[in-house]
C-alpha cells in the first residue's frame, strides 16, 4: 500500500515517503533542540556546572570520529549517485563502506566511554557528564537505527530490487543519515571544543 502511494502522483509532486521523511526530521530537530537548549541553559545558568579539561575529553580522537562520520555521509551520497546511474554494484559497495564507517564510529565511541569513566566523568558525576552521555547516547541510538535501515537497503540491493527508476528508499535513507551526521557536527563542538 505505502509503496503504491509513494509512487503515485501527488498534489505537491514530492513522493509521500520523501515528504514524510522531511516531516519526521523536522520533529527530530525539535527533539534534539529540546536537549541542546536545556544543555545551553544549564551550562550558562547553573552555579554548579563543571566543564572537564580538554585533556580529559580526548579531543583528537573525537575529531577523528567526526571525520569518520562525515566520510560516511560522502559514501552515502556516492551510493545514491551510483543507483541513479543504474550502477547497482556501486550502490552495494558504497552502502558497505557507509556501514563500515558507521561501525567505526560506534567502535571509537565504545573506546571513548570507558576512557571517560576512568577519568571520573560518568552520567551521574555532574551535569556535564549527564548531558554528554544522554546526548551522545541518543545520537548513537540514531546511528544504530540508521545502520539497521542501511542493512535493509543492502539486503534489497543484493536481491536486485533497486533500479534507475525505483530507488526512493536509498534517497530517504540518505536524508536521514545526513541528519544524523549533522547532529554530530553540532554535538562535537558543544561538548569537546567549547
Amino acid at each position: 500500500m505505502s509503496d503504491s502511494h509513494a509512487m503515485a502522483d501527488t498534489n505537491t509532486g514530492i513522493p509521500s515517503g520523501k515528504l514524510g521523511m522531511w516531516v519526521f526530521l523536522a520533529s527530530e530537530v525539535m527533539l534534539f533542540g529540546g536537549f541542546i537548549s536545556s544543555y545551553v541553559i544549564l551550562r550558562t545558568g547553573s552555579t554548579n556546572f563543571v566543564v572537564p579539561g580538554k585533556e580529559m575529553l580526548g579531543v583528537p580522537l573525537a575529531m577523528v570520529n567526526t571525520f569518520v562520520l562525515i566520510t560516511s555521509s560522502v559514501t552515502m551520497v556516492l551510493a545514491l549517485d551510483a543507483i541513479e546511474k543504474g550502477n547497482v554494484k556501486g550502490l552495494i559497495r558504497n552502502l558497505i563502506f557507509t556501514l563500515i564507517l558507521a561501525a567505526c564510529f560506534l567502535g571509537i565511541k565504545s573506546y571513548e566511554y570507558p576512557h571517560k569513566w576512568h577519568e571520573g566523568i560518568t552520567i551521574s558525576s555532574g551535569l556535564f557528564g549527564s548531558f554528554y552521555y544522554t546526548l551522545t547516547g541518543l545520537h548513537m541510538l540514531h546511528v544504530v537505527g540508521g545502520m539497521a535501515y542501511m542493512g535493509y537497503l543492502l539486503r534489497n540491493a543484493l536481491a536486485g530490487r533497486y533500479t534507475v527508476q525505483s530507488h526512493a528508499r536509498v534517497e530517504y535513507a540518505g536524508l536521514y543519515w545526513h541528519f544524523v551526521d549533522l547532529v554530530w557536527v553540532i554535538l562535537f563542538p558543544i561538548f569537546y571544543l567549547l
Binding site: I41, L42, S46
Partner: protein, 568 residues
Amino acid sequence: MERVETFWSKYVFSLDHKVIGIQYMITSLLFLLFGFSLVLLMRWQLAYPGHPIPLIGRFLPDFIAAGGIMHPAAYNTLGAMHGTIMIFLGIVPLGVGAFGNYILPLQIGARDMAFPRINMLSYWNYFAGGVLMLMSFVLPGGAAQSGWTSYAPLSIVSPGQTVWLIAMTFLITSSLLGSINFIVTTLNLRAPGLTFSRLPLFVWAQFITAIILLFAFPVLQAAAILQLLDRVAGTSFYLPTDLIVGGNILDNAGGGSVLLWQHLFWFLAHPEVYVLLLPAMGIVAEILANGTRKPIFGYKEIAGSFAFIAFLSFIVWAHHMFVSGLKTKLSYLFMTTTMIISVPSVAILTCFLLSLKGASIRYRLPMLFALAFLPLFGIGGLTGLPLGFTPTDVYLHDTYYVIGHFHYVVVTGSMIALMGGIYYWFPKMFGRKMNEKWGHVHFWGTVIAMNGVFFPMFIQGMAGVQRRLYDPTVQAHNLAVQPLNILMTASAFILLLFQIPFIWNFFHSIFKGEKTEENPWQATTLEWACPSPPLPHRNFDKEPVVRRGPYEYSVPGRGEDFWPQDKP
C-alpha cells in the same frame, strides 16, 4: 487488488483508516469514562471529606481507601491520573486519532492515509501507552502522583512516576507517527480540484493540529527522558544542589534547575491546549455550516486564525509560570503574547456567531451540541483572560478558578463539540442514525450537569480555595464555599447518569439504529459523496473531482439548498 481478510486483519490489525479511526474512538471513549470515574471518587472526598465512599468504597483496595475513606496519597494519584488520562488518552485521541483518521481522508477524497502501516503503528503505540498507564495502578509504587504536569523535584522523588514516563513515551511516539501521516496526507493526497482554499475547515483544523503536535511533542519527549534519567540514572538535570527530601540531603551531584522542567513542559503543554481545541472547532464549523444552511462566515479568517493560533501557541508558555519568579520583563512579554493569542480565538468565535445571523437553523442533534459549544467555550475563553494578566493571576493562580477555566474550555468546549461530532458522523461511520430522543436526553442532561460541576469552581477559586487540596475543610476561609462542593459532586454524579443514554444509544444504534442513505444531513463536503459506511480500503466508487468550495449552501437560483463539492 482483492485481499483476503481474516477477522484479525479486518478488525484488529487493520490498515484501513476507517477501522483505525473507530478503534481510536472506542478506546478513547472508554478512557474518558475511566478518567471520569476517577474524578468522581475525588469529588466525593471534596464534598464529604473523611466520609467513607458509598457503595464501591468497600471494594477499593486498602492503599486507595482503607475502610472506604480515601487515602491522601491516593487522592494525589487520582488527580494526576485523571488529568493524564483525560488529556493524553481521552480528548486528543478522540479529536485527532478518531475523527482525524476517519474523516480527514474522506473529506479530501483520498482512498486512505499516506502511510497506512504507520497509521496502524500509531494506534498500537497509543494502546500500549494506555495499557501501561492502567497497569501502573497495580504495579509496585502505584500510579503517578505528582499531577499531570509532573513538576520537578516532586516528580523525581515520588513513586510511580517511572512507569508514567515510559507510558508517555509510547503516547508521544503515537502522536508523532499520527502527525506525520496527517501532514503528508493533507499535502499529497487531495482529490483533483481540492485546493487549499477549498479545504473544509475540519481538514484545516486537523492539518494545523498535526503541525502543532509535530513540533511540541518532541520537546516533551526530551524533557521526559531527562526526568527519567534523573529518576533511574542518578543525573540531576532538575535537581538543585543539596536538595533536602524528607530531612535528608539527596546525594545527587546537583546543579540542575526545577524551572527547566516547567519551561520544557509548558513549551509542549500550552500548544497541547490548542491540540485539544482546534479539532473541536473544526467539527463545530462543519456542523454550523450544515445546520444553518449557509456558507460559514469568514472562511479565510477562520483558517488563518487556526494557523495564527498555532504559531502563537509556541510563544505563550511561560504564562503558566508567572508565580515561579519569572523576571518582570519576561512576564510582560508573555502577558502580551497571551493577549494577542486571544484575538484569533475570539475572531473564530465571532465568525461562528455571525454564521448564525439570518439563518433558518435546522435544530438537529449535532447542531444542538455545536450551538452549546459557542457560549460555553466563550465562558472558558473569557475566564482565561484574568489568568493571562499577572496582577490577577498572582491571586488566582493554583485556585479552583484555574480548574474551572480549563474545564470550561476542554469539557464544555471540546468535549461537547466532540460529542456533536459523534452524532454528526455516526451515520457515515455505521450507515445508521443515533436515536434522536435519547440524544436529546443526553444533550440537555449533559449540558446542565456540566455547568453544575464547573461554574461553582469560579466562585470557589475567587474565594481562595486552592486546587489539589485533599481536604478543603482544613482551611477556615474555605468553609464559606464548602457547600458548593456538594452541589458540584451531585452534578458530577448526575453527569455520569446522563452518559448512560449516550452509551446505550451508541452501541444500540450501531446494530439497530434507523438506516440512512449516503448523505442524511444534506451536506456538501466530500465525506458525504461516498457510501455509508464507505467502501473498505478505497472509500469512493470512483475518485471524486472537486468543483467548488466546501460550504455552498443555499446558492441562489439552485433548486436544492446545498451544492456538494463534487456534483456538477
